[in-house]
């Protein structure tokens, strides 16, 4: 195992790649009672067109299939994985994002049994026509629940603006119509393609002994056979370099009391995985803090004018194939909100210059926040992303933040904050009759 020591934080990570291709990372936390483990495949909602393992033709699968597969992994011929975790007292769950599906548990006891359960249920698929049909009612309700959620609609409305020709625009769970088409054969095809250990990572953090845990995992994996791994061929549309496909503005009505608005900026340049990506994300986060954080002049100015309030927030999403940033909030006047936010974005040079020492302060703040995250097993595990950042953990981030310069920020702002990449989406209160 490769050991990385983070002396400043008194933390250590252990990493190895098993013979079958599975990447394992272990991060013991002294004094903690529970252990949190995530088994993740690089397969998410955007991967709906790919060459299935054993075939040589590109095939388009129904939207929502990765998420559907996630639900169905738990159900076996004669039991449910939730029940097995229940026998060992673990709390289990799973989630699907744009690019990943993760299965997880947290438990204060029976670590070996729970770990075995996690590996075994994810590596032993069982799908049947009857169980697939039954799930459609449950996921149908999940989709309807999100349909009524204004924040979700706002976010996906913006993604639809930025990516009108990309599978990102589809809801992670798909639609009632798309999931109706999913068959157990589809699920097996997706499973065989993406659930090979070579395409997966296991991250365990908390109460654990690294040597002992690795022995268990190795024995469990050695007892299973896998087909040789064939590199995955996904089909994703390329980013349109000048952003001319972006829909600049849309609005919808919903039964809400207060309007909600979101401004999005699409990254038009793909970011290289690894150290570059880690630095890029840190740079954008510092940039956003300078432009819109509560330590900024802009924030106070917009707040005092009533343009933004405590609901204002922003987020930068960086993945292997795309990146975009969003700024959103509730507002009485969406047009005014959008105009004010766009004004700050387009005039970033007024803020990102060498006139003051705010950069040093923001860096200090963000480094401190990494220390906060060290308390949370979930934060440590969920921030890990092998495909995007390699072996890096959150404890690698402070050094990256500390090294950032004004020139780094300027270069990223120059590239990211371009007018043709900006879009607006608004939810307005539906007239009551």
């Amino acid at each position: 195992m490769k050991v990385t020591e983070y002396d400043q934080f008194n933390e250590k990570s252990y990493q190895t790649k098993l013979d079958n291709g599975l990447t394992v990372t272990l991060l013991p936390k002294d004094g903690f009672h529970k252990t949190y483990a995530t088994l993740t495949t690089n397969y998410g909602s955007i991967d709906n067109t790919f060459v299935p393992a054993g075939s040589d033709e590109m095939h388009r699968f129904p939207d929502g299939i990765a998420h559907f597969l996630e639900h169905k992994m738990f159900e076996k011929e004669d039991h449910d994985a939730f029940q097995t975790f229940g026998q060992y007292g673990a709390s289990a769950n799973a989630f699907t994002s744009f690019t990943k599906t993760s299965y997880l548990f947290s438990a204060s006891r029976n670590l070996r049994e729970n770990l075995t359960t996690l590996l075994d249920f994810v590596q032993d698929p069982y799908f049947s026509k009857a169980t697939v049909e039954k799930e459609k009612g449950i996921i149908g309700q999940e989709i309807e629940m999100y349909d009524d959620d204004p924040s979700w609609r706002l976010y996906f409305g913006m993604i639809g603006n930025l990516y009108p020709n990309h599978p990102l625009q589809y809801d992670i769970a798909g639609t009632t119509e798309s999931i109706a088409q999913i068959t157990s054969e589809d699920l097996y095809a997706a499973y065989r393609t993406f659930y090979h250990p070579e395409n997966m990572t296991l991250f365990i953090v908390g109460n654990l002994n690294p040597d002992e845990v690795l022995t268990w995992i190795t024995a469990n994996q050695a007892a299973k056979t896998f087909e040789p791994f064939t590199p995955i061929e996904r089909k994703l549309p390329a980013t349109v370099a000048d952003g001319h496909d972006i829909i600049p503005y849309r609005t919808i009505d919903m039964p809400v009391n207060r309007a909600k608005s979101i401004v999005g900026v699409k990254g038009l340049v793909p970011i290289e995985a690894g150290a570059t990506a880690l630095k890029y994300r840190a740079t954008v986060n510092v940039l956003l803090e300078l432009l819109f954080g509560d330590t900024s002049k802009n924030y106070l100015h917009l707040y005092d004018q009533g343009i933004i309030d405590d609901t204002f927030g922003y987020d930068f999403e960086l993945q292997n194939d795309f990146n975009f940033l969003t700024l959103s909030g509730e507002t009485d006047d969406p047009a005014k909100f959008d105009a004010a936010i766009i004004d700050v974005l387009e005039n970033w040079r007024d803020v990102v210059n060498d006139q003051d020492d705010t950069l040093a302060l923001v860096k200090k703040e963000m480094i401190g926040r990494v220390v906060f995250m060290a308390n949370s097993l979930e934060a440590i595990a969920n921030r890990y992303d092998q495909r995007l950042f390699g072996a890096a953990t959150i404890f690698d981030e402070p050094a990256v933040i500390a090294d950032l310069t004004l020139a780094d920020l300027q270069a990223v702002a120059e590239q990211l904050l371009t007018s043709q990449a900006i879009s607006e989406y608004q939810i307005r209160p539906q007239a009551k009759n």
Binding site: G86, Q141, D148, P255, D294, T295, K364, N375
Partner: protein, 420 residues
């Protein structure tokens, strides 16, 4: 370590080396009354964004950033018949940063300034800041209803506590009450609060207890002349089911049910009730999850929760509006099944293990210490970890059946889509 700084003012310090941050929490606790809920909510917003030494958010945010991004917040909550206004600050332990800044000392100093020196002069809060926060709170209360599940649960709460206006209200207040509040009136109320509220201060982390104590002694709190608020409110059992219905243009219907369930925190039946709730709808192994979701495929979520400070249980499910009767029937059948002893001992053993796991896992959150210290003070009782575990383990099947019979369905709120 526990110290009484004055009558009704407690300081609890907890040394823990598990976390890389230190946390300081101040709770102001008072009896829940309709007249003060909204004022306290507005106070939380004012204290979170301004004080005499940090007159606007930027100054305040900069002060926090200088403490390596200390996290500061104010909030309100209800626990039975008490209302709690909380100020909390979390700060990194400087050992993990290349600095000799005494961060915990600075954080306590910051909190004391915010608490004791509000942005006010001539007997009133700064008018501009007050007006801004009043406007923002009104907008926030207004948009709460945009979360339909939350809205439905609020409506159920209002129906369930029809006999007591203060229990009906959300802990963040109402727009009607907000409109009457003035910068002068609120300042007067804050002075009363500082004098009369029970105050619990909790400091958790790798701390120097004596230094912390000394720092808090310098705040010179005065004795409270008020008594301790009661810890529990007892819901009134109507003995009959009444359902309110409302339609809105939404996709998914929300069915919310409220039960009278006279079980109180650490009282008779309490540990059995925890297991009963897990069995009925509190876990993925529960009757509701298994039958409403997994078997009948009628919902993505169908769950139960108990409030042992008010003696009620609630059920919520997101369903297709047309399935209302069927879901209601399945939910009722699950409760009857438990009352008729229709569950396995294996399942009970698993649910116990699940509760033990939740309990032990909660010890990994710094916040748990503050929550527990507050409840201990509220109920004037302490239970060790070992005792808690032993009591869960000792719950019998008969006790679960017995406690399940205490649940009486009283109210329902059904929010459904508009049928066209």
């Amino acid at each position: 370590m526990q110290t009484q700084l004055a009558k009704g003012v407690q300081l609890t310090t907890v040394i823990s080396h598990q976390f890389k941050t230190n946390q300081i929490i101040v709770n102001f606790r008072a009896p829940l009354t309709r007249a003060t809920i909204t004022q306290r909510s507005l106070l939380a917003n004012l204290l979170e964004t301004s004080s005499a030494d940090y007159p606007d958010q930027r100054t305040l945010a900069n002060a926090l950033a200088r403490m390596y991004g200390a996290a500061f917040g104010a909030g309100v909550s209800r626990k039975g018949p008490t209302h709690n206004l909380q100020l909390a600050i979390t700060v990194a332990n400087e050992r993990f940063l290349a600095t000799d800044q005494p961060l915990t000392n600075q954080a306590i100093d910051f909190l004391q300034r915010v608490m004791l020196k509000p942005l006010a002069s001539a007997g009133q809060f700064d008018q501009v800041t007050f007006d801004r926060q009043k406007t923002n709170l009104e907008a926030a209360i207004n948009s709460v209803a945009d979360d339909k599940q939350y809205y439905a649960s609020q409506q159920l709460n209002a129906a369930l506590f029809a006999e007591e206006p203060a229990q009906q209200m959300p802990s963040y207040g109402t727009i009607a009450d907000l409109q009457a509040i003035t910068a002068t009136g609120l300042y007067d109320y804050y002075q009363t609060l500082l004098q009369d509220d029970q105050i619990d201060i909790i400091v958790v982390g790798d701390i120097d207890e004596d230094a912390v104590l000394q720092q808090w002694q310098q705040a010179h709190f005065e004795d409270r002349l008020t008594g301790r608020p009661r810890p529990f409110y007892q819901h009134h059992n109507t003995q009959k089911y009444v359902e309110q219905q409302e339609q809105q243009p939404i996709s998914q219907a929300k069915l919310n049910l409220g039960y009278d369930f006279p079980v109180f925190y650490r009282g008779d039946h309490y540990y059995a009730a925890l297991i009963f709730n897990e069995l009925f709808g509190g876990s993925p192994l529960s009757k509701l999850f298994t039958n409403v979701r997994e078997k009948a495929s009628l919902a993505y979520y169908a769950s139960s929760s108990i409030d042992t400070f008010r003696g009620v249980m609630k059920v919520q499910a997101g369903i297709d509006g047309d399935n209302h009767d069927q879901v209601l029937q399945i939910i009722a059948a699950q409760l009857t099944a438990i009352q008729n002893s229709d569950f396995t001992d294996d399942l009970v053993a698993q649910l116990k293990l699940g509760l033990v796991n939740d309990f032990e896992s909660s010890l990994d959150s710094q916040r748990t210490f503050a929550i527990q210290a507050l409840i201990n003070d509220l109920t004037q009782e302490q239970v060790t970890d070992a005792e808690w575990l032993a009591r869960i383990q000792s719950v019998t099947r008969d006790q679960i059946i017995e406690v399940s019979k205490l649940a009486t369905l009283n109210n329902g709120f059904f929010l459904s889509g508009v049928t066209e």
